[in-house]
């Protein structure tokens, strides 16, 4: 089933990507092609299959809750595009 332009605009919004109209059009086409390929999975009988994720370590991994040295604040902040000595700066969140 082809995706609609509105669906793709909705996905872009969920993904926090401000795409151009040309990109929306391109991805509408490309995602439709890829999804129609992916749809072949619907033909596989997966009744009764439990997803075990056994390729991932089977048991939980714990450690003692002991404080250890961590990254100094100045280091953690040093890559931020807008910051001061203590905080990341972000644009206004609440409107007027």
């Amino acid at each position: 089933m082809p995706l609609s332009k509105e669906q793709v605009e909705h996905i872009a919004k969920l993904a926090r990507l401000n795409l151009t109209p040309a990109e929306i059009e391109k991805y509408t086409h490309e995602l439709t092609v890829i999804l129609s390929y992916i749809d072949q999975l619907q033909t596989v009988n997966t009744e009764g299959v439990e997803v075990q994720n056994q390729f991932i370590t089977a048991e939980n991994v714990f450690r003692e809750d002991v404080p250890e040295p961590s990254l100094p604040r100045s280091e953690a902040l040093r890559n931020a595009p807008d910051r001061d000595e203590e905080y990341f700066h972000v644009p206004r969140v609440i409107g007027d």
Binding site: F55, V61, L71
Partner: protein, 475 residues
């Protein structure tokens, strides 16, 4: 000067230990090559000259004073640009991180440095490791060292090219669905994806966390086994790293017992280049002559691998890449807009076309109403694939197949057809989804000389069998 470009890591360490050459001389030569031939190939994003020379001097001082030296002493190594190395750019081949300098070392780096290896540079890659041709980099495509109009494969194209060209004897890439094995095949070098959890991923920028694995590239089996031995094993900083009692790989490469090897019919079906098939068949007949036995096997879910992968990997990527929001690191595009628009503008201009395509795909398959139909369905088929392998490995030690359906394709050939590009990973994806180890061995070539790799896959944590079969074929 010895013929540096032909020296193995073992040769280099030996020459330094016996004072035939200094580590500084070796590292200077590697850096010179990276700046000239590496630049021609566009294989490097950053050359780590300052620290590399300092590390080389430390090795030379140890040799002079008679102190013990590590198993990779003075050996130049290149790292894919998604592995964190303190104080050097870690761009992931992306505009959004083109100023990001990590404040800590990956565990991989710590382990390499403690074996006295020298990191000489960070290699070019498909943006966020998404791609099979290295054409998706913000820094431009990497060229195939032997065929400059062809791709080196991807996403670890810069790492494979730098080893093939002789700039470094060893490099690391990362694998999510074949990103080391496929470029190893295209460039004519060895590439091994360890079992899931084989090498710590602390400090590797995440793409798809249920398959991502750091993976070594080398020009010979002993070097590959040595560097894996140095870097494998449990790391408290990566809870998915596995506490496995790894054997002493470099000293166990010779094997007397014969292998039982499976030939999966699904890997020899439509779409396989006849020249690639001929190379794999030649490998089979050589191993038969040496007394190994082969049985025909079937892995019926193989042709569903690409479909499963392009649900699971984009879904996980869409979550992992949510952290790139213009706040904590990297690019920010804003003006006076409010927060949500700052996110949207930053991400739209910071990510390239393929990364956006996968974030969109991943967001869609995880979105309300589609999660069960796509992600859960794919996870179930993935489980069937894993069980198929488990069943097969009750009867065989190894599975043989081509690494990639074709030799290196032309730059530009598949870039406008995402699905065709995705299908070039059809033979490497299954081992990634199942979490089992696999190696690409340079074995033959096409009639025009393009390298062709043969892939062996083993059961979980049976990397030893991969090194041993590779060693047999090297001889």
């Amino acid at each position: 000067m010895l013929d540096y470009k032909k020296m193995s890591a073992t040769d280099i360490r030996e020459a330094i230990a016996t004072r035939k050459v200094t580590a500084v001389e070796i590292v200077q030569e590697s850096i010179r090559l990276a700046k000239t031939e590496g630049k021609e190939l566009n294989a490097f994003v950053t050359i780590c000259e300052d620290k590399a020379l300092t590390q080389a001097k430390v090795v030379d001082d140890k040799v002079k004073s008679g102190a013990p030296i590590g198993s990779l002493a003075g050996v130049p190594i290149a790292l894919k640009d998604n592995i964190s190395y303190t104080d050097y750019l870690c761009s992931c081949g992306s505009h959004i991180l083109d100023k990001y300098v990590p404040p800590y070392d990956a565990t991989l780096v710590t382990r390499l440095l403690s074996a006295d290896a020298v990191i000489i540079g960070k290699t070019n890659m498909d943006e966020f490791a998404m791609g099979s041709s290295n054409e998706n980099s913000y820094y431009g495509p990497v060229k195939n060292p032997r065929f400059p109009d062809r791709v080196p494969g991807g996403s670890s194209g810069g790492s494979a090219a730098s080893v093939a060209q002789g700039i470094v004897p060893l490099a690391f890439g990362s694998e999510t669905g074949g990103s080391v094995r496929q470029p190893a095949s295209f460039c004519g070098v060895y590439g091994m994806k360890p079992s899931y959890g084989g090498i710590s991923r602390y400090g590797l920028v995440a793409f798809a966390s249920s398959t991502d694995q750091i993976s070594p590239i080398a020009r010979n089996v002993a070097d590959l086994a040595t560097v894996f031995k140095v870097t494998c094993g449990r790391d408290p900083r990566d809870s998915t790293s596995v506490a496995f009692d790894h054997p002493d790989y470099p000293n166990r490469l010779e094997r007397k017992e014969k292998f039982t090897i499976g030939i999966p019919r699904e890997y020899f079906a439509e779409g396989l280049d006849p020249e690639v098939n001929a190379v794999v068949q030649k490998c089979i007949s050589e191993l038969k002559k040496a007394g190994h036995s082969f049985i025909d096997i079937s892995l019926p879910m193989t042709d569903k691998g690409v479909a499963v992968y392009y649900i699971v990997a984009p879904a996980e990527a869409s979550a992992n890449l949510a952290r790139f929001d213009g706040v904590k690191y990297g690019l920010r595009k804003s003006g006076d807009k409010e927060l949500a628009d700052m996110y949207g503008d930053t991400r739209a201009s910071g990510f390239g076309a393929e990364v956006k395509r996968r974030i969109m795909l991943g967001t869609y398959v995880l979105s309300s109403g589609y999660y069960d139909a796509y992600y859960i369905k794919a996870s179930k088929v993935r489980e069937l694939m894993r069980c198929e392998f488990e069943e097969v490995f009750r009867a065989v030690d190894l599975i043989i197949s081509p690494t990639a359906p074709t030799p290196a394709f032309r730059i530009g050939e598949k870039i406008d057809d995402p699905l065709a590009m995705y299908l070039s990973d059809a033979y490497t994806i299954p081992a990634s989804l199942a979490g089992i180890p696999a190696i690409s061995i340079p074995y033959g070539s096409a009639s025009d000389g393009r390298p062709i790799g043969v892939q062996f896959t083993a059961g979980g944590f049976n990397e030893l069998a991969l090194f041993q079969v590779a060693k047999m074929m090297e001889q």
